[in-house]
């Protein structure tokens, strides 16, 4: 029994020490960025590539002297894709004096929307959250930055139109989606476009966990026989959809996936580039390692005698991490410049984020223009297609049907 007492005493002591250490103060020439991550939870297959990308970009900046003389300290918290730890993470960031935070996950974005506004700290949610968050007047402290699901849906239709020879009139498009709020979100825009462009839209829902879709695919390939398929799936399901469509003989060159079914990992899980040949993907960040910034990162690590980050293997997610970091840094840079070199507050950084324009990082970042009204930055995407054993760029950044998106944004107010 006495052993138990020692255990108790020791753990109380260690706990006290840790709390004391955790409250150590921040430095003057330092900015804190909060980053929420999922490296061990339901969506870890994304997080383990995305988050290292974020850190690598910040390390690169710091190795070059930081942003306008300010070093960046990244405070990362892994919330395992659960909501309560995301709230804890936000409070921790606030306590550490973070000027902004990167949110990870749709339920987490929803849970923090109100708190961010009350605490006046901006949160970025690229690829997550509700499409309505693009409206900066309604959600002043949430920045989706990447194309929302509405914009992605519209872009997918525009791409199908281009592939089908410039007109969708009388054509048939199938929409295969994960049956959750995120999966259903583009529906409103797609239905609108079906009317405007005169194509027939049929939807096929895949219930969670999304690995069983034989019936839906059979329905698409055997009965509906669409001219184009738009897929919007998450986790393991994109690879299943590729495999099943291929197996039922539907040409993958007539399939376009929204951004979460678009990584090298999905293609590999589907059986490799051979199987997925022709598959189209939408991207909100550049793909591949052929960018100056990645060469700089590799050079920096080589100079330090460290290996090149192995996470670059899944460049779709790694690069998204880079882009998020780059946009965070750019917002901070704008804020510091606007303050004439003084340390910016979180409020200043928000204004800095709303001033991002013409920042492309050598083609990695879309030519977005963030304004106080438009926190999405224009809804730019790029199409990358599987060709000859790799993902190949299929055209430049584009945005589609902005008037329709704007109409929907106005309608949610």
């Amino acid at each position: 029994m006495t052993r138990k007492r020692h255990w108790l005493g020791a753990s109380c002591l260690i706990g006290g020490l840790a709390l004391a250490a955790a409250t150590a103060g921040a430095q003057d020439k330092e900015l804190v960025f909060g980053l929420q991550c999922d490296r061990t939870g339901a969506t870890q297959t994304v997080g383990v590539f995305l988050c290292p990308g974020y850190h690598d970009y910040i390390n690169l900046l710091n190795s070059k002297g930081g942003i306008e003389g300010y070093k960046i300290r990244v405070m990362e918290i892994d919330h395992e894709y659960k909501v309560p730890p995301a709230m804890e993470a936000h409070e921790r960031f606030k306590k550490e004096g973070a000027v902004l935070e990167g949110i990870y996950g749709t339920p987490q974005t929803a849970a923090l929307t109100k708190k961010l506004e009350e605490d006046k700290i901006l949160g970025t949610s690229p690829g997550f959250g509700t499409a309505a968050a693009a409206d900066g007047r309604r959600y002043p402290y949430v920045f989706p930055l990447a194309a929302s699901y509405w914009s992605q849906g519209a872009a997918a239709v525009a791409f199908a139109k281009k592939e089908l020879g410039g007109s969708l009139n009388g054509k048939k498009i199938a929409y295969l989606f994960y049956d959750n709020p995120a999966g259903k979100e583009p529906l409103a825009v797609l239905e609108d476009l079906a009317k405007a462009e005169g194509f027939e839209l049929r939807t096929f829902a895949v219930p969670a966990p999304g690995v069983e879709m034989g019936a839906q695919i059979l329905d698409i390939s055997g009965r509906f026989k669409p001219d184009f398929v738009i897929t919007h799936l998450f986790g393991r399901s994109p690879s299943v959809s590729i495999k099943e469509l291929k197996g039922k003989g539907y040409p993958l060159s007539k399939v376009v996936s929204l951004v979460w079914g678009a990584s090298e990992a999905d293609i590999k899980a589907a059986g490799g580039y051979e199987v997925a040949n022709g598959y189209h993907t939408l991207q909100f960040a550049g793909v591949g390692t052929d960018f100056q910034v990645i060469k700089d990162i590799n050079a920096m690590y080589q100079a330090q005698g460290k290996p090149i980050p192995k996470e670059q293997e899944i460049s779709v997610f790694y690069n998204r991490g880079l882009v998020i970091a780059a946009l965070h840094a750019e917002a901070a840079r704008n804020a510091i410049k606007a303050k004439g070199g003084a340390k910016p507050s979180s409020e200043d950084v928000k204004k800095g984020m709303e001033a991002i324009k013409g920042f492309t990082l050598g083609g990695m970042v879309p030519p977005m223009e963030v304004t106080p009204e438009d926190h999405e930055g224009g809804g730019w995407v790029q199409v990358w297609s599987v060709k000859g054993g790799k993902l190949v760029k299929d055209g430049d950044w584009f945005q589609a049907y902005r008037d329709v998106i704007k109409k929907h944004l106005a309608a949610t107010n």
Partner: protein, 355 residues
Amino acid sequence: MLHRESGVFKTSYAADMALYPLPIARWSIAIIFLMFAVVLPLALDEYYLSIINLVLIAVVGALGLNILVGYTGQISVGHAAFMSVGAYTAANLAVKLGLPFWVTLPAGGLMAALIGAIVGIPSLRIKGLYLAIATLAGQLIIEWIINHTPAISGGAQASIEVPRPELWGHQMRTQGQLYFFLLFFAALATLAAMNIVRSRIGRAFVAIRDQDIAAEIIGINIYRYKLLSFAISSFYAGVCGVLYTYYLGIANYEQFQIGVSIDYLAMIIIGGLGSILGSIFGAIFVTMLPIVLRLLMEPILSMFYNAGEMSAVISSVRLVLFGGLIIFFLVIEPEGLNRLWRNIRNYFRVWPFSY
């Protein structure tokens, strides 16, 4: 509590059945009350209060699940779904009808109780693992219905933003203000649970858990009490969901998925099945341990790693330690943290004599 009962003689049944039979216990309760109501909010900053807030919400949910699983012996893996019923009921009432929290909170609880009693109907015929599967079906059906009914879920995103709770024209929005809001209901829930389990109802629950046929023979209407247990448990879950909704400012069904049900089951198993204090210990353990582990590792690991490497290490090591500690505590005391605490207490009751 660490009290010695020597010299205390009870002369009535009422005294023997009191929640706190010893005079000194009242002092301890007063001190604990002062601690939570005055000392903690003054001493801790927003960050630590936010962690306590999460614990307080979890306490309400864990108490409810323990009444069902621990006291009545009916397994449920649909607890999170009942939370979502409470959350959406309250959110709809608060947004569409503009009702204040003191109406929406019991309404959310009652709606969850109703749905819970319906989901609990299979418990009249089946037990154990079979019942677990039936409640799993309840969880999935409720999720599906919310996801596909815009009238409940408020549109494609299945999110309803609710205003902050308001009392006498004063909004509670900071962690400090929400702390008192949550503390009140967590304390109320604990007090109610303590009284339920020592009442006729609670004894009937325990009788059903220990041997349902025997319980029926001694005159307990097991149909009624099983459904009542589901209803009470779901009422707690519903209230937990409402508190969560007000705490976050949004009701979102993705926050109440099957994983959350499992988390709550973990809480009561680690804390101790069939014990009020165990529910609280379990809620504290599951909510705070990952946070404490990270706070412990950060200062040590930051000496060896940069931020990026450290995050990767912390995430993995924390998961391993968390799992390891659960196994450790369950191996040294399979009946949970509550039993561990009682062992320690019993040791000190007779200290320094070990007999």
